[in-house]
């Protein structure tokens, strides 16, 4: 048998794909995902992931680091490296350092958020094995797909086809690796 990526099923409605996802989850499958043209709540609820927490943590850390670095940059310049006494005003004029620190904090948050998004999605990639699935181009337009990877310890083509069929699959097919 040639190398396989997994078994994919095509669905017309998001509810069907979500129902399949719930069933796969209940049956203990791990390496599967739902593909669709928009972020829809029912599918989201049926697909377990901790990425939201991860990305929030990354972005929050980036915000803290950005704010600290932005502040330190100014503190270092104005207090440590080149202190100038202007009319006896404090060297560490913190209210005046806040605006720039905030902008740098925002910059860090947004960019690290973008990078965290790319890394958690394993992007950018020029090719994904799943693109080989028939009519998969409609996953970004109007259809929903569920794919269980061969790498799943419980992978069993017969059983998966059965689950797909129970929820009105249009077509099940094997995706080459």
């Amino acid at each position: 048998m040639s190398a396989l990526h997994g078994l994919i099923g095509e669905f017309r409605e998001s509810e069907e794909a979500a129902a399949v996802a719930r069933e796969l989850r209940a049956a203990g499958f791990e390496r599967w995902d739902v593909y669709g043209p928009a972020p829809l709540e029912d599918i989201e609820r049926a697909t377990p992931t901790r990425r939201g927490v991860l990305i929030t943590a990354v972005m929050f850390s980036a915000a803290v680091i950005g704010a600290c670095w932005g502040y330190f940059l100014q503190y270092w310049d104005a207090v440590l490296a080149f202190p100038i006494n202007v009319g006896g005003r404090p060297l560490n004029g913190w209210p005046g350092f806040v605006p720039s620190a905030w902008e740098i904090c925002a910059l860090f948050t947004v960019y690290f958020g973008f990078f965290a998004f790319l890394i958690t999605c394993r992007l950018p990639r020029l090719h994904q094995p799943i693109f080989a699935a028939p009519r998969f181009e409609r996953a970004t337009q109007d259809r929903f797909f569920v794919c269980v990877e061969v790498a799943d310890p419980r992978y069993d083509a017969g059983r998966i086809r059965e689950i797909f069929a129970r929820h009105g699959v249009i077509e099940s097919s094997e995706v080459p690796a």
């Binding site: 697909t47 100014q74 990639r125």
Partner: protein, 462 residues
């Protein structure tokens, strides 16, 4: 010309009830992939391109001749460049605010216009970014603003709002690019998958970064986007407030006041709404998008514009009250001069265009007349520039010491930079509407899905 779609009415739904996932995907991507370039596009791109060339020439001439080719002098050392800067960054802020704030509050109409708003932001911010650099005089040394003092031995003054402004603008432009691009990734994947020509598949394939639309990827996307929106909304408030502080920290009689940050920010939102309206009214018509960007969208933005205009009217009243409340003779003189003196015409022009005329928006009749709405919006965009001009120039022209008073008038090159920068922004916008989807497809699909969910729970399954 394709047939024009029927309108839905101002009280109608936010998107045509017949629209589904496939119709949205095909309508919006065919505009880019399939449809031959319409004639109006060539006309628009050519005109704006010509002004873009004028902008380049004017910039080069400024580099060669120095800022002396402008009308700036002493006392009026801040002329068009600063008025343009404040105006452009204000327009940009308005666009980001529509996109981020109304994402956070979950308004369904936001998804029809956010792509236009963000794109306009991008080019407006680019135009804004050019102005301070041109204004520096020694443009080649602009990098002295960067805080790498360890290498250069040049020490920026971190307590100056002008330096805050540098950080604010730089960070804001960089963040806007990512905020705009991350929203495009799933739509580029749709274009990649619908494209039939090889170059389109490669071009959109690269822009789509290999996006597959997996539920877990969508999860990452939404988490990142939500927090970005939460950062961008306060960021634009800070950016434009810092622009206001540039003036507040100045010692000029007409500027030295703490009221400017909100005054500037409200003006920024106002011009942002106006530009978005002025762009989407023709765009939906020419691209026959009446069923996707509906009259509901226009109505909502027109009402927001009216509300913001009233806030701005309050700011103008406060601006008028302050000098008399403090009783400071210089402030009173400056204020009266700005209203009735050499620059009085601009004062009344701004009041007319920004406050008096937009009161027509109270009437549903006017709000529902697209030509009237377009004209009022363009009037506000112009009025906001005039406001900035009056604010910058008239305060400098009449400062504390009458012997120091002097007038400013724009030269050909001043006007060339102003109009040319508009040409640059419009040219960028034309390029965008030809190459990328003008409405965010996947966000429209979300709305369709939600509507279907409501119908299903309300009326039972069909």
């Amino acid at each position: 010309m394709p047939e024009r779609a029927a309108e839905l009415g101002y009280d109608g739904p936010v998107i045509g009830p017949e629209q589904d996932f496939s119709s949205v995907s095909s309508t919006l991507s065919d505009l880019v992939l399939e449809r031959p370039t319409p004639r109006w596009w060539y006309v628009g791109a050519l005109i704006s391109g010509a002004f873009f060339v004028l902008f380049i020439i004017a910039c080069l001439w400024t580099f060669v001749g120095g800022v002396g080719v402008w009308g700036v002098n002493i006392p009026v050392a801040w002329g068009f460049a600063l008025a343009n800067y404040v105006w452009w960054i204000g327009i940009a802020s308005g666009g980001t605010f529509i996109s981020s704030l109304f994402y956070l509050v979950g308004s369904d109409w936001r998804n029809g216009v956010n792509r236009t708003a963000e794109t306009m932001t991008l080019f407006a911010a680019a135009a804004a970014g050019m102005m301070p650099i041109l204004h520096l005089g020694r443009q080649g040394l602009f990098y002295w603003l960067f805080p790498y003092s360890t290498v250069m031995g040049i020490w920026p003054q971190f307590l100056s709002p002008l330096l805050w402004d540098f950080f604010a603008l730089l960070c804001y432009i960089l963040c806007s690019i990512v905020f705009w691009y991350i929203g495009l990734v799933p739509d580029c994947a749709t274009l990649r998958d619908r494209a039939t020509k090889r170059w389109q598949q490669v071009f959109y394939g690269i822009l789509a970064l290999g996006w597959r639309g997996s539920a877990r990827d969508w999860h990452s996307y939404k988490a990142a986007y939500l927090i970005m929106a939460g950062i961008m909304a306060p960021m634009v408030v800070s950016v434009h407030s810092i622009v206001g502080l540039d003036f507040a920290a100045g010692l000029i009689a007409g500027w030295h006041s703490t009221q400017w940050p909100p005054y500037f920010f409200i003006g920024a939102l106002y011009s942002g709404w106006a530009v978005v309206l002025a762009l989407i009214i023709p765009l939906r018509r020419f691209y026959s998008l009446e069923r996707i960007v509906t009259e509901r969208h226009l109505d909502v933005i027109a009402k927001l514009m009216l509300a913001t205009g009233l806030m701005l009217a309050y700011c103008y009243l406060l601006e008028a009250m302050e000098p008399f409340y403090t009783g400071d003779k210089a402030k009173v003189t400056e204020y009266l001069a700005s209203a009735f003196g050499h620059y009085g015409a601009t004062f009344w022009a701004r009041n007319t265009l920004n406050i008096f005329v937009p009161q027509l928006l109270w009437l549903p009749l006017i709000r529902r007349n697209k030509i009237a709405l377009e004209l009022i919006s363009i009037g506000i965009v112009a009025g906001m520039w005039i406001e900035r001009y009056n604010f910058v120039v008239s305060a400098l022209a009449q400062d504390y010491i009458p012997s120091k008073w002097g007038w400013f008038g724009g030269t050909f090159w001043d006007w060339a930079i102003l109009i040319g920068s508009a040409g640059m922004a419009m040219f960028g916008f034309f390029a965008f509407i030809r190459l990328l989807p003008v409405v965010s497809m996947f966000e429209i699909r979300e709305i369709i899905h939600k509507r279907r969910g409501r119908e299903a729970s309300g009326g039972g399954r069909q």
